[in-house]
Amino acid sequence: MNRDEIPPGTLYLLILKTVARTGKMHGYEIADSIQRTSDDVLQVEEGSLYPALQRMLIKGWVTAEWGTTAGNRRARYYQLTAAGRKQLATEISQFERVIGAITRVIQTA
């Protein structure tokens, strides 16, 4: 199975989008979800999720609170704030702009 490192700077985007989709997730779910959604193509060093989440907590994009998992384990659930949703929109449009530009460059004969 061929796995690719995620492009630099997109980790926040991936986390934000993933959390936004389901509303409320803990760390393992986020990592798992990114992998599954990308059909196992994108590989995140799973642990690096945590420093990134701290950064996002500081910025106020997400909030964290403790809850229980389906398997009745204590887990910390992350949730987007209004600022987080705004940030997600910014990151998406920024990403699309960059990707679009790169695509145009590649496809120009």
Partner: protein, 906 residues
């Protein structure tokens, strides 16, 4: 908003760090376990699953650290760690810590205490509205009443009014009486007269300063419009507290001052102490009432009764130069415009030359400042030197300690700690030490500054200065504390972290760095000795000056004289009242009858109480016209009471009455310089212009006395009998034998037998009064001696510490020497030689430094040259002696080394 949100979140993380770490740990643990489970379900073996999970997750420890550091508190946590490490280091070597803390506390405390006084006397701005806009006419050196033409320091009331109306440069303009009236008055409903310090001010004074009453109102220009018209008073907050116990119904309370009833109309704010630093009035009264306030000066309408300081607030945008031009133009105009201007050729010449200087008044007026600014600056230098010596000491102690830590640092550097990180740690440790010392120092300073204030005051009453802690003071202390930390911490810190790694790891006692370390430590000790010498020489000079001053021949006999002050003005005696004669005569008679009293007399002055001086014209002799003669008015027993020897003629007696020929006794210097050769007895002269030259007949010549200060030259002084010049004679002096404790109550009783209401104040002895006139010399001599000795003591600790260290390091060598047959005395000399060499080097550097420094203090010395050889030799000798003693102990220890033990010790 988002910035504050972020800050709040970061701070909340800071306070819940351990919770944070636990949460993160748990979260990651869950992640790993869930992944493990998933792998197992996918059919892997236990071991396989675990390693796959690990691979996918990354290094948990590093990730935890990274998450933790994301919050940006690493610097703070390092600091906490360094601080706690520093504390532990301090506790580990309590001996070093106690010496370091004590010397720091003394050094920093002394600096803070002197600075607090300097701040109060010299630096602090007046607590009024925009004090930097205030200017004073002249420089405030003169005070009193003058009638000279074109005085540039003192001005008359009519001049003030003219200037106030005509000037174009001031937005506010005010006048204050140049002296305070220290009198006794009565508070409504009380029978006892109380001392009151009264300041006469113009009605514009409070408005110009922008000072508003806390209760009632301040004095206004309306109060100051009509002579004797508005008996109103504003009292100070501290007087209100002291005398009226903060009575809320203070307004409209009456004060009887002289024979006039004043109404209290307001209380000034508590921070306002007037415009003269160190002389806080109790009560402010409008200048229009000056004739009603004893001693009843009558200068309200006299064009040339010059007794006021003038001050103005510059209009915005006006420069000092513009103001000075305008003021000097008007100065001439106004003086020449007075109809009674004495326009003699001489006066016009004088006017042409006179220029009124404008002085900034940001920090207020102060005679204290003139008196103490130089001593305070010198003491500031002295305590700064002491602190430097203390720093050198601590640097040496830390240097010695860092030797012990060489291995620790080598290990840490080998493990990848950066040098800057280690230096930061060492400096933090120094800072912890310094801050602890600084905190102790502040505590020490709080007591010391009160003691200093007491020493400055020199008498029973303390000068009203605020020397309590304030922000500026704390900032100063913090600044010097950090500076000392850097000073004493820098050298050991850089030194401890500079080494050949492998060398230090191989062997705990890195021989290579030891030599250099010794050199550094020796340089520090040499510096200490040089500084100590400078301080010792300085204190020697001050001490010898003080001794010279106390040995000055005052002309009067200062022993066994009781001195007190009465105040007849406050109990209904008017200025020039002829009943005063009877009062004074009775007091003198009754006091003289007290057993043990040999003479008693009232007088206008005794010593160091200001002066009243005028020009005189000597009949038949062209005496120096510009020479002012000082006058004193005395009772018949004055010369006997003061012990001033009569040189020729007679002193005053009952034959000198109000109606008999006006007579005078003159000082020896006056007799020799202002009269033709031969005896001046029977010669005539007079006060003022030549038409008075026949008024007074000289009946006696007395020995010269010191009148204003011990340093002054011989004075031309004359004395008049009170019977022929009736004034308030507030000084009373009594010559006694036996014990003062027995005489004083009897004298008090004698005075109160004459009039039970007559207030008695300032009870002291003549000797003490003389002593008080050299307060600042004594202050400087005592403090510089104290700090000089402290410096020497600290240097001795330095020498002792260094030599102990050297001896320990050389135990081996000494053992070999002794095994080869060296005598114990020889070994002792070996060590002593090194000490004496260090001290000699310190002296060689210190002597030129001391000589250079002494030139700064030359005008504070009395009766000796700055290059006084006695002080210099004594200081060098003393320093050699104590250094030898400090060094002898380690030297002795070295000589007692057992060769066998020493040789085995390697």
């Amino acid at each position: 908003m988002s910035f504050f949100g972020e800050l709040t979140r970061r701070l909340s993380m800071l306070f819940h760090r351990s919770q944070f770490d636990a949460d993160l740990e748990e979260e990651m643990q869950l992640h790993l376990e869930l992944r493990d489970q998933e792998q197992l379900q996918a059919g892997r073996t236990q071991a396989d699953a675990r390693s796959a999970t690990r691979r996918r997750f990354g290094n948990p420890t590093r990730l935890k650290e990274k998450s933790h550091m994301t919050w940006g508190w690493q610097w703070f946590e390092d600091l906490l760690q360094d601080v706690s490490y520093g504390m532990r280091a301090m506790l580990r070597s309590p001996g070093i810590t106690i010496v370091a803390l004590l010397s720091l506390a003394l050094g920093i405390g002394a600096n803070t205490a002197i600075f607090s006084l300097m701040d109060a006397v010299m630096l602090r701005s007046l607590p009024v509205d925009q004090p930097e806009q205030l200017v004073l006419f002249g420089n405030g050196t003169d005070s009193g009443i003058s009638d000279g033409f074109s005085n540039e320091d003192l001005f008359s009331y009519p001049f003030y009014r003219e200037m106030q109306q005509k000037n174009q440069v001031f937005s506010g303009f005010a006048a204050v009486f140049s002296m305070n009236n220290r009198i006794h008055g009565f508070v409504e409903g009380r029978k006892e007269a109380e001392p009151m310090n009264i300041q006469l001010v113009s009605g514009t004074y409070f408005p110009m300063l922008g000072v508003h009453a806390t209760i009632g109102r301040t004095i206004t220009d309306e109060d100051d419009r009509m002579k004797d018209g508005n008996p109103v008073a504003v009292v100070s907050s501290s007087w209100w507290n002291r005398s009226m116990a903060h009575d809320a119904s203070v307004l409209n309370k009456k004060l009887k001052i002289g024979s006039t009833i004043f109404t209290i109309v307001g209380v000034a704010p508590s921070e306002f102490f007037g415009t003269k630093v160190g002389d806080s009035p109790d009560i402010w009264i409008p200048l229009s009432m000056q004739k009603e306030v004893p001693p009843n000066f009558d200068g309200y309408s006299g064009n040339f009764s010059e007794s006021l300081y003038l001050m103005g607030r510059l209009k915005p945008g006006t420069t000092m130069a513009q103001a000075a031009t305008n003021v000097n133009l008007l100065f001439r105009q106004i003086l020449l415009g007075f109809p009674d201007a004495p326009l003699s050729q001489e006066n016009l010449e004088k006017l042409k030359k006179t220029r009124v200087v404008l002085s900034p008044m940001t920090t207020g007026l102060s005679s204290l400042r003139r008196k103490f600014s130089e001593p305070l600056k010198i003491l500031m230098i002295v305590v700064a030197l002491v602190l430097l010596i203390a720093c050198a000491n601590i640097a040496n102690l830390l240097l010695a300690r860092s030797t012990a830590r060489t291995r620790e640092f080598a290990v840490r550097q080998a493990l990848g700690a950066r040098r800057s990180r280690l230096i930061r740690q060492l400096l933090t440790e120094s800072l912890v030490l310094a801050l602890t010392g600084g905190a102790l120092g502040v505590g020490f300073a709080a007591g010391a500054s009160r003691l200093l204030l007491h020493m400055v005051s020199g008498g029973q009453t303390t000068v009203p200065l605020d020397v309590s802690l304030n922000i500026r003071l704390l900032l100063f202390t913090l600044a010097i504390t950090c500076l000392t930390a850097v000073l004493f911490g820098m050298i050991p810190a850089f030194h401890a972290t500079k080494f050949e790694l492998t060398e230090s790891l191989k062997d705990g006692r890195g021989q290579t760095s030891a030599g250099e370390k010794n050199r550094l430590a020796k340089a520090l000790v040499i510096a200490q000795i040089a500084f100590s010498l400078v301080l010792l020489v300085g204190s020697g000079l001050f001490l010898r000056s003080l001794i010279n001053l106390t040995n000055v021949d005052t002309g009067f006999n200062r022993e066994n004289v009781l001195r007190l002050q009465t105040d007849a003005s406050s109990i209904g005696y008017a200025y020039g009242d002829s009943r005063l004669l009877g009062l004074y005569q009775q007091i003198e008679d009754r006091a003289s009858a007290v057993p043990g009293v040999s003479a008693a007399s009232n007088s206008l002055f005794t010593y160091n109480e200001g002066s009243w001086n005028t020009r005189v014209s000597v009949h038949g002799y062209d005496a120096d016209k510009n020479r002012n003669i000082k006058h004193n008015i005395v009772g018949n027993g004055y010369f006997a009471a003061m012990g001033i020897p009569l040189l020729a003629g007679r002193t005053f007696g009952p034959q000198d009455t109000a109606t008999s020929q006006k007579v005078t006794v003159i000082s020896d210097t006056m007799a020799r310089t202002m009269f033709p050769a031969g005896s001046p007895i029977g010669h005539r002269y007079g006060v003022g212009d030549p038409e008075h030259a026949n008024d007074l007949e000289v009946i006696g010549v007395v020995k010269d006395v010191k009148f204003g200060s011990l340093q002054e030259d011989q004075q031309t002084l004359d004395y008049y009998p009170v019977t022929q010049q009736i004034r308030y004679l507030n000084d009373f002096e009594v010559r006694y034998t036996g014990s003062l404790d027995a005489v004083l109550p009897a004298v008090r009783r004698a005075i109160h037998d004459v009039d039970p209401n007559l207030p008695i104040s300032n009870v002291t002895t003549l000797d003490e009064q003389v002593g008080r006139s050299i307060t600042n010399q004594r202050l400087v001599a005592q403090l510089s001696t104290f700090f000089g000795l402290l410096a020497v003591f600290l240097s001795c600790i330095g020498i002792y510490g260094l030599m102990s260290y050297v001896v320990t390091r050389r135990t081996n060598e000494i053992g070999i020497r002794m095994a080869l047959g060296a005598e114990r005395s020889h070994v002792r000399w070996l060590v002593m030689r090194e000490i004496l060499f260090l001290v000699a080097l310190g002296v060689v550097i210190g002597v030129p430094a001391a000589l250079a420094g002494n030139r700064l203090i030359s005008n504070m010395l009395f009766g000796l040259l700055p290059a006084d050889p006695v002080s210099l030799i004594a200081a060098v000798g003393a320093l050699l002696l104590v250094a030898a003693i400090a060094g002898y102990l380690p030297a002795r220890r070295a000589s007692l080394v057992d060769p066998m033990v020493a040789l085995r010790c390697e």
